[in-house]
Symmetry: C3
Subunit: 340 residues, 3 copies
Amino acid sequence: MEFSLEQLAGILGGTIDGDPSLKVQRLDKIQEGQPGGIAFLANEKYENFFYKTEATAVIVSADFIPSKPYTTALIRVKDPYTSFTTLLEAYQQLHQASLVGIEQPSYMDESSSMGELGYRGAFSYIGKNCILGEGVKIHAHTFIGDRVKIGDGTVIHPGAKICSDTQVGKQCVIHSGAVLGADGFGFAPQEDGSYKTIPQIGNVILEDQVSIGANSTIDRATMGSTLLCKGVKIDNQVHIAHNVVVGAHTAIAAQTGIAGSTTIGAYCIIAGKASIVGHLKIADHTTIGGNTGVTKSIKKSGQTLFGFLAMDLKDFLRSYSIFKNLDDLQKRIQQLEKKG
Amino acid sequence: MEFSLEQLAGILGGTIDGDPSLKVQRLDKIQEGQPGGIAFLANEKYENFFYKTEATAVIVSADFIPSKPYTTALIRVKDPYTSFTTLLEAYQQLHQASLVGIEQPSYMDESSSMGELGYRGAFSYIGKNCILGEGVKIHAHTFIGDRVKIGDGTVIHPGAKICSDTQVGKQCVIHSGAVLGADGFGFAPQEDGSYKTIPQIGNVILEDQVSIGANSTIDRATMGSTLLCKGVKIDNQVHIAHNVVVGAHTAIAAQTGIAGSTTIGAYCIIAGKASIVGHLKIADHTTIGGNTGVTKSIKKSGQTLFGFLAMDLKDFLRSYSIFKNLDDLQKRIQQLEKKG
Amino acid sequence: MEFSLEQLAGILGGTIDGDPSLKVQRLDKIQEGQPGGIAFLANEKYENFFYKTEATAVIVSADFIPSKPYTTALIRVKDPYTSFTTLLEAYQQLHQASLVGIEQPSYMDESSSMGELGYRGAFSYIGKNCILGEGVKIHAHTFIGDRVKIGDGTVIHPGAKICSDTQVGKQCVIHSGAVLGADGFGFAPQEDGSYKTIPQIGNVILEDQVSIGANSTIDRATMGSTLLCKGVKIDNQVHIAHNVVVGAHTAIAAQTGIAGSTTIGAYCIIAGKASIVGHLKIADHTTIGGNTGVTKSIKKSGQTLFGFLAMDLKDFLRSYSIFKNLDDLQKRIQQLEKKG
């Protein structure tokens, strides 16, 4: 895909300093700009790179006044960052839209159906009685079990596994290697110390605009549904156990784990490697720090929690700063004891 | 699959209040019961849901006396929870048993063999000199390397990878995306600071009734075997390094990691995100809490350990409750110093 | 593959005690030696096993004098461990070299090319405009997106996913289920509390001799590149976020996570389950302990850090030993208060 500066200035409502017929094929960082690329300058900290960049063009603010010589063409716009993001999105949409059709060999049971403008990559597998919406992109090596529903515009990246009975909403993105709908970890201890498997017959439901990171695992419910509400964003290698509910627009960073039957509120932010034990309720708008272990329900919304066992962030940091010098504290007690 | 209440009451040895010819196709939670479903009531806490449920039938205790009007049929049994579990298991067994045959395209080297009543999904791969037992189910996208043995009744879910020389026992379950037999992380530091790869030529052995969760990784031994004994249950995203041994009927929750050459005893319970360093021995019947870091061998069986560095659970909680108020402790010392 | 002791003694520059025509097919541990295997004895601790081993031959030191009867043949060499490692490497090289050709069905776009002596397993997928070097081994179920470059001698294990625009150097090893080049976790918060996806158009670059463990995820950069320099060794289930740079010959153990835009120095050692927040710089030769949380840049090289929030290892252990007895400390303060 190649665009002239004239075309881009038209899209962005900007003006050109330089040759409008110049062509770009690529979006570059300003500090790594090369011929054929277009970069942006939104932050003064990066202005030095502007004078050195080899990018063909740079998107700058309408009122930007260079203070040194430079070699690139300019597109002047109201807000360079927003304009650049517009180009980024256009780039991705063009890219996704171009993926249409069916590569062979691929497998789809005849009882299943695929909407218009969809894509199925080679070695993709679709089981029985599945319904795929319009523009759904099923990349190579994707596994889709029986009775799965996938909403319009959803993209399933290579090698993701969507097990039987899973329901995925519209405009979701499932990254490579993610597993939706594996059995929950349910075993009943027997008298002899062994375990008996508890069948897991529930499913996984993703509402619209949910994103699941690479190699994350969302287990099916024992009964009922493991539910990720609208707009939930989940990073890589996150583990969501059976019967968990995650409220709308909650974001969960990499390697976090949530144990069975816990309900997370809406608009929460959970940092990386946090862990939340089972059967809790976490209030809306809760922020949970990295590595934090949550073992009790959070009833009051808007708190920020942190620590090996979750506590108020500021309290933890105060205690930890004393922990760092516990040796000193101990010596002061020894001093007092000697005096006494 | 559809059953009449008469058939189900026959299986469960129960009696029917209502129309024996009513049909159910589904197992429901009582709070989410819908027409066509059968639910159960075993816990008084859920009795309110009983009066509202739309399930076609509910399994209740033989002596249950409703205190309000209700609309569902009843199957009265001695122990509703056990009866429901019986139905759950029957449901899963019927489902698994129905998977027989070979979908195409699939790949199996001619030197390998597959037992009766087995299943191989499309795009499954089986290398050289493999022996698959009776009723083994190899789902789509499964990879099985060379010289792999898989015992009767084992199920390998979509996209699991069983690398060369792995031995899997009978009635094991390997979930999607699990990797058995990748190389152990073995590198010899060189004088120039670089690393030389130490070839990993051992294998992975799973005894009977072992379960491995989605996206878990069990590395092959450097030499000899990484060994998971009978009945071991492993959750999602667990990492078991080279030459680890896990004793019989030990359960390990999600995202736990066990470093190389450590031996875990039998009947242990290891909660989520625990980590155990290499070359340790952990006694039988040890309980290790979530997020706990174990850096020393555990010789005495039956202990419960917890903490950033593992210690007795109660001791940790006592220390942590003081840690939470360390600021207060510091102030009390300051007071004493002033007085002094 | 079968070798006579005469052949092996020739390769190793050793001498034989026993029948030079004896054949071995396998490398064994001395404590598990069986007929047809060759073991080694380098450490006195294992000498007892020597007298019991059933291995066909044992590699021993030139000056080794047995003190009891034994049944195995000997190959006497200068350094038994080094000799055994030589055999291990020869074994693996022979094994890899024997994998040549294309299994069917497999998929490669006609615009892509594959070097000589390469291997592509069944169900492997190679997208558009890819260039694969000489002797590249692409195992079954591997996904390779568009415009991917892979250097000579690199091995991609079953079911790894190398997404579009990734560049992989020479002699790299990518283990099963690893995902290179999934989208970075980039979302812009909107005024209504929802998130807008920030397109991720950068890539992943691996220099030569990089190893990536099973089910690890290396995200593509938002723009520019996520970069793993020469000789970096990464264990299983490690997460490397967008725009991270890892310096040459740094080793990272299992389940560690590194957040976006952090730069790790060269020759670092990072133990298992460590976590490093985003936008930091970690000096060369830094050692980071297991489970350690790093939240600040490390400027001085050669430090060893440990703890829930990283601090000097010795300082942490000193503080933690007092933490274990905080109850005692509190009681001593109470005593002092009573006296006062």
